[in-house]
């Protein structure tokens, strides 16, 4: 089985948020609960200030702390699904320990105060155990893998669009949207990325495009000190997370 990995080239990324939008539509996430988000930072001061941005999906860590802490095995890493980390919505008790343990802040407990008003859950109230029921819903649903619209009281997160990826023919190394044979199986954020800043493929195959890029362009993983070893790599200048400095402290920092 492949080990699915993603490479995000920050030299190409324009921070346009097309990936964020595509992900929300593909996965019917609540507005604001973005499984894939682009985070913006700035560092330094005018005239030498720098604007930085960082697209951030779930890193599908090789050594995921969210899995280690989950008391019910609701969160699990599935080697047969390319090492993607899933949340089984039938098992999650909503203790939120995984959210505490994930260093990347990519998990959502959507049963919370609406991030964006008005609360869309009131416009489309649930009628079938889901947290909300919008008129258009992705027909793919698999609660054991946290795919679909989440029910109340559980945690959700990016699944690398497993409902698409799983249809890829056995043995495919690169899921490249330029290849008509496989483009339907490419994760939504990768497929939609206009400047083609994202790549998706098999990290276990040395010939895969993702591995070649990681080797040639010094791919880095974020917050490597936590030992989580993401399956998402970043290329280009500024592939890091700046230390947090609150706005009103920037001057004395």
């Amino acid at each position: 089985m492949a080990k699915w990995g993603m490479v995000i080239d920050l030299d190409k990324c324009t921070g346009c948020q097309a990936c964020t939008t595509a992900c929300s539509m593909e996965n019917n996430t609540l507005p604001g609960e973005s499984w894939q988000d682009v985070l913006f930072y700035h560092e330094g001061e005018y005239p030498s200030a720098q604007m930085k941005w960082l697209p951030r999906p779930c890193m599908q860590c090789e050594n995921p702390s969210c899995v280690h802490v989950c008391p019910t095995r609701a969160t699990y890493k599935d080697p047969d699904a390319g090492g993607i980390v899933f949340v089984d919505w039938n098992k999650c008790i909503g203790c939120k320990y995984c959210m505490i343990a994930c260093p990347y802040g990519v998990r959502f407990y959507a049963d919370e105060k609406p991030l964006i008003e008005p609360d869309i859950r009131e416009a489309y109230p649930s009628d079938n155990g889901q947290l909300w029921s919008p008129p258009y819903q992705n027909p793919e649903e698999d609660w054991q893998r946290g795919i679909g619209i989440q029910p109340p009281g559980v945690v959700s997160k990016c699944t690398f669009c497993y409902h698409k990826v799983k249809h890829a023919p056995e043995g495919v190394v690169d899921l490249d949207e330029d290849n008509p044979e496989v483009k339907e199986y490419v994760p939504a954020c990768v497929r939609t990325c206009a400047p083609k800043a994202r790549y998706f493929g098999d990290l276990d195959n040395p010939e895969s495009q993702v591995n070649l890029l990681i080797g040639d362009r010094h791919g880095v993983r974020l917050k490597d000190h936590t030992g989580n070893r993401p399956q998402v790599y970043y290329l280009g200048a500024g592939a890091s997370v700046p230390a947090f400095t609150p706005a009103d402290r920037e001057h004395d920092a």
């Binding site: 343990a101 049963d111 919370e112 009281g153």
Partner: protein, 407 residues
């Protein structure tokens, strides 16, 4: 037989909670419990967790802090009960039974609050045992606290049957002591092992939790013991009076001092650290909050200073006041500990320029009140029906003077 009957009677009269006052308080606590529980349940059923002020960036709020407070106070009470039952500090016998009972009900109350905080409570009952995720500290928390409850119950039933010193009572006592250490130490590791949450990441957290847990346990014990006797020490049996003017206040003073020391070293290393996820929590959140500073000064520093004076610390009124202050002070400590680990945005540079702000919602407060009032209801029932002031007969019958000597 005659003597013990008489003995029972004197104690029955001595304990005001067994009379009409107890009923009155029980009704009052019951009303608060029903009201807060009803409010919480209605909120949870109509708007779910949207009635909490927690969020995906700050998932653990006041209900978790409340649970933590109760669980650790229970462990503290369990450890104090081990003083006479395991380690032979005889002067603590007069509070042993009350301690164990309190440990049991405080833990039950904490668990009730935690249950109401979870997204899917009942699923827990099968999902945790069936999946045996032994890597998870939270799995072990369930195991150890369940064992703790079991041993407390067992130990209580031994004392209830008048077995203070038998071999099995001792063995159960030792098992219970170990259970308490495992449970609360493991609870500390739930936070202490999170390298991605540097404010909590601390190998010595179990020691900090033991220490502060015992401090809150003593606060609860002092308060409830006085409550049982209408806040009048003269109504207490001599052996209990001797304890409350002898070993216990000294222990209480030392515990508050130790707690302060722990907070001080955490604060000093935290302020010294360059890591914003530690030092900003101290400067930008804890010490920037008037409420935190007030709770530290009034809830721990002031009680410590007062308890340093031998004449003050032996006064009944002072002890009750200090117990209440320490109760509030440590509750605040737990709250700021739990929230403090999360206020620095983890990975959200985006439009999150400041620390994440959080104030508990009405529903979250109602859960805290559920915990407190449940504790009172169970405690008052215990005082009524279980003779919590019981002690080994030779102590109960000894004159006051002899007690002072054993103390």
């Amino acid at each position: 037989m005659n003597i013990s009957m008489k003995d029972m009677q004197t104690r029955t009269q001595a304990n005001v909670l067994q009379g009409p006052l107890g009923w009155g308080l029980l009704v009052a606590a019951g009303v608060v419990l029903l009201a807060s529980l009803a409010f919480a349940l209605i909120q949870l059923m109509t708007s779910g967790h949207t009635s909490f002020n927690t969020s995906s960036t700050l998932p653990w709020g006041q209900p978790i802090a409340t649970y933590l407070y109760f669980a650790l106070a229970s462990s503290g009470l369990g450890l104090i009960a081990s003083l006479p039952l395991v380690f032979g500090f005889k002067q603590y016998y007069p509070v042993a039974k009350r301690c164990i009972f309190l440990a049991f009900i405080v833990l039950i109350s904490g668990m009730a609050v935690l249950a109401l905080e979870l997204g899917n409570v009942f699923r827990m009952l099968w999902a945790i045992p069936l999946n045996l995720q032994v890597q998870s500290a939270m799995f072990w928390m369930g195991v150890f606290y369940a064992l703790d409850l079991l041993f407390l119950l067992w130990k209580f039933s031994k004392l209830q049957g008048g077995e203070w010193d038998s071999k099995t009572a001792k063995q159960v006592g030792i098992a219970s002591f170990i259970g308490v250490l495992l449970a609360s130490g493991n609870l500390a590791l739930i936070f202490g092992m999170m390298s991605m949450r540097p404010f909590w990441f601390d190998a010595l957290l179990p020691i900090y939790f033991y220490f502060t847990g015992v401090t809150s346990g003593v606060a609860a014990l002092v308060f409830f013991t006085y409550l049982a006797h209408g806040f009048q020490r003269e109504r207490m049996p001599p052996a209990l009076q001797a304890l409350l003017t002898g070993a216990l206040p000294k222990l209480f003073a030392a515990l508050i001092g130790g707690t302060l020391l722990f907070i001080a070293v955490r604060a000093i290393t935290g302020l010294y650290s360059n890591n914003p996820e530690i030092n900003l929590v101290w400067t930008g959140y804890l010490f920037a909050s008037p409420l935190y500073n007030a709770s530290l000064l009034l809830g721990l520093v002031l009680p410590f200073v007062v308890m340093l004076s031998a004449s003050l610390r032996n006064r009944a009124g002072v002890q009750v006041l200090v117990a209440c202050l320490v109760f509030l002070g440590l509750f605040a400590e737990r709250f700021y500990f739990v929230v403090g680990g999360q206020v620095v945005p983890l990975f959200h540079g985006t439009w999150q320029p400041g620390l994440i702000s959080y104030t508990p919602s009405a529903t979250e407060w109602s859960l805290t009140f559920v915990g407190i009032s449940l504790c009172f209801v169970l405690y008052l029932l215990g005082e009524k029906f279980l003779n919590l002031g019981d002690m080994p007969r030779h102590m109960a019958e000894a004159p006051a003077g002899a007690q002072a000597n054993t103390a």
